[in-house]
């Protein structure tokens, strides 16, 4: 459980120390990529809890989703349609879904262990 948090910390530290900047016009793409990555991460955690985790699916999904989201935003900019909204909507809904499933799985696990302790 502490591993993702630790990874996040390391990443944040690396990013803050590197002092890297993305030009302003590309920061849109990066934010959407972050959203996609978060979505995949939570999907992975859910899959892990439901014991359907497959690392190939996870890794491919991680990179593919990021590229797809950024590509969609890029296409949107060039077509004059705010396509990145579609990506934000899709990833947002999935994020909520995944987190809800994770919460439920954890809750049932907890009640199960409490019951076994009582028995």
């Amino acid at each position: 459980m502490w591993l993702p948090v630790l990874g996040l910390m390391i990443g944040l530290l690396l990013g803050l120390m590197s002092d890297l900047r993305v030009p302003e016009e590309y920061s849109n793409y990066l934010s959407i990529a972050v959203l996609a990555a978060l979505d995949t991460l939570f999907g992975g955690i859910r899959a892990q809890l439901q014991k359907t985790f497959d690392d190939k699916v996870f890794i491919s999904g991680f990179f593919f989703n990021i590229l797809l989201a950024a590509g969609l935003a890029f296409l949107g900019v060039h077509l004059g349609v705010d396509l990145y909204l579609a990506a934000i909507f899709a990833f947002g809904v999935r994020l909520f879904n995944n987190i809800a499933v994770i919460r439920r799985v954890l809750l049932t696990k907890r009640t199960n262990t409490q019951q076994t302790e009582k028995n």
Binding site: G7, L8, A37, T40, F58
Partner: protein
Amino acid sequence: MKLVPMRKRLIFLITTVIIGFMVAIQFHSTQEPKARDTRDIWELRQDVEKVKKVQQELNSEIYKYEQLIEEYSGTGEEGQIDTLKETLKELKKEAGITEISGQGIVLTIEPLLNDEDLVGHSAFRIQPELIRRLINELNTYGAQEISIDGERIVNTSPIREVNDKTYINDEPLSGIPIEIKVITLDAKKLHAEMMTSQSGEEFAREGLRLSSRIESIVTLPPYEHQIRVKYMEQKEET
């Protein structure tokens, strides 16, 4: 609880590191870049000079007001009233609602050509823009008080065009020639500046001549209308 295999852990770790990295970069990028101070020594010196000047002005102002406070509090009731009256007078003078005289110049706007040449010529009109430019130029060269055609120019004096007529202080300009009286500390210098001024050429383009003469005593009429104060508020007592 069953232990998660090493491989999966590693994958999770790497993914979260990437996410953290992206978030950090995003955070960096969306932050406003710090404005760097790029002034060199010379510019810094100039800025210091400027600030020092401002400080000096402020100091002298503080001194003035401190003296005023002393006068208010020190003398008896009569003296206080006198001081108040004095202040009121000074403020009125500053606002331009008193008659004022002093050395200065008189500018005259008249037709550039002789009267005989003007047969059949339509009446001249002085564009408000011309007058505005002239006032700006006069102020640049150190004019203290200005009146145009008997209308005192204060900070809020409107100069506009209504129905093809130029109005100053909501009064139409009388016909040509028009006199502009200016009070200044150095009349000679202002006269010399006005002889070669940009405004002179602009008036000439409209067929008007702007001539200037020095006078030892120029008397300007007071501003006669209500001064409307729109964007000022009374300061609350502290």
